[in-house]
Symmetry: C3
Subunit: 203 residues, 3 copies
């Protein structure tokens, strides 16, 4: 039996960081609800984003000050900053909805947000498996499948936005929002790719 308390902590921190993402995805879904208090929801998103930032910084500090790491320093850094990127992107979507004062959005946008929630939950569930390196393949395959579905959904939404039914100023706002959602889904895929790369190296 190997007893490696230092390494254990990295897995805990990654799980903590991914849990912040799951929280963020839930808050994002609330932002889209009818009659949502945009100011209040956006404030909670900022809090979640700060919490994720702190966990990310704690991981980076640890990787810079620890002699033995469970996998390559660079991979730990990629994974932490990749997860943090997702959070930043979800925060950005909430922020845009607040600042642009968007009140009505094409219904398909909720589909993208549900998809983000599933990505977040899957990522959150996968992080503890980094320790044993088990069951990670199912995770990254499913994230890739969701990213593909998100991409198709994204293209339908864009075609709808540019169909001529929306005023140009609304097109400008909605395009920003749906692109930011797409970026967040892509960012989950990049995290999954990083996990795949780690698993391949360690196997």
């Amino acid at each position: 039996m190997r007893f490696r308390p230092v390494e254990a902590s990295f897995y805990d921190q990654f799980t903590e960081l991914a849990n912040h993402l799951a929280t963020g995805a839930r808050i994002l879904a609330e932002m889209l609800a009818d009659g949502a208090d945009h100011e209040a929801v956006a404030q909670r998103m900022r809090d979640a984003e700060h919490a994720a930032d702190e966990t990310t910084h704690a991981i980076i500090r640890r990787v810079n000050s620890t002699f033995i790491t469970p996998f390559d320093r660079e991979d730990i850094y990629s994974l932490a900053s990749g997860l943090d990127d997702v959070m930043d992107m979800m925060d950005e979507v909430v922020d845009m909805i607040l600042l642009y004062e968007v009140r009505h959005m094409p219904a398909e946008i909720s589909g993208q947000v549900e998809l983000l929630q599933r990505c977040a939950d899957l990522t959150s569930a996968a992080m503890p498996n980094l320790r044993s390196m088990q069951s990670l393949e199912e995770y990254w395959i499913e994230i890739n499948r969701l990213e593909n579905a998100g991409d198709k959904n994204h293209r339908r939404i864009l075609a709808n936005i540019f169909s001529g039914d929306f005023k140009t100023i609304e097109v400008l706002k909605l395009k920003d929002i749906v692109e930011a959602l797409e970026d967040a889904i892509d960012a989950f895929e990049r995290v999954a790719n990083t996990v795949e790369q780690i698993a391949v190296k360690e196997s």
Copy 2:
């Protein structure tokens, strides 16, 4: 005589990847032709993009599982992902033309696409030279020259788009397209910079 079958294969794979880019640039040019079947051309672009993805993944897998590599692992990774980025950007341009249903574009846009084709052909011709590290300087100097010409062209197109002759919704669409073309040209320059960096280290 050095017999290094493993390394040889990397050069072949980079050449294969760059060839996919040359195909992509040709398909992009077809997309701009009058009366082009946008759906059909975009489908062929997606196929080319998938093919490039597969070659990229094959390179990454190999670099992660091979003990001896012809140059630094990190440089192989940069070169492969840099080439893949170009393909993604060209694919994005085709996709925008399809989704935005853009039928008429300022004529200068073809100039940018011709330039992309020349960058792709040059890159394709340069990849086999990574083995001998000969004739690479001409390649990166010429790519830098083309990128400069592309930048000037890009600025003329933007000024034209914002001249007041286009409806705002068209400005929004065209701006996206010309910026994506510019990004693709820049991405070819980043590939050339990576090749330069490899050549400097190896010399």
Copy 3:
């Protein structure tokens, strides 16, 4: 006493690069002045950008050809390219103002440019301290504070732009400009983060 002429030169080059940024920030401020000769100011910005490019390339060449470096090669590369990114972004703002023929901008935009100037001056003053690794913490804390202030300012400007007072074509132009300013401020923060990372490793 340690006499390390090679390493000394890196500090000088980083200081030189940061000084180009301070010049760039001043030129950007001139671009916003009433009655500015946009063509002439943009030309000076391009010159400053080329100068920064040359210093960046000189640093990269040196790091690739020097055996002993004052800190990790990768960190030198990050710092140089991070500083160069800031310059590119400030250059882009000047270029947009020229190409979009923007004559009137919301007054708060000057606030962002002043903030950029302060970031540039602080960065310029911090670079020589990389040698002794002294007084760097004050620098990165202050940059983080400025980035926060910039973010608040940015959000106010965006809300103003989308308030309905501007024509959609103007919204399109101004949004691009203020986002590029925000990107430049963020890029200064990334430089400060790199400096922090170097300082933590070296301490």
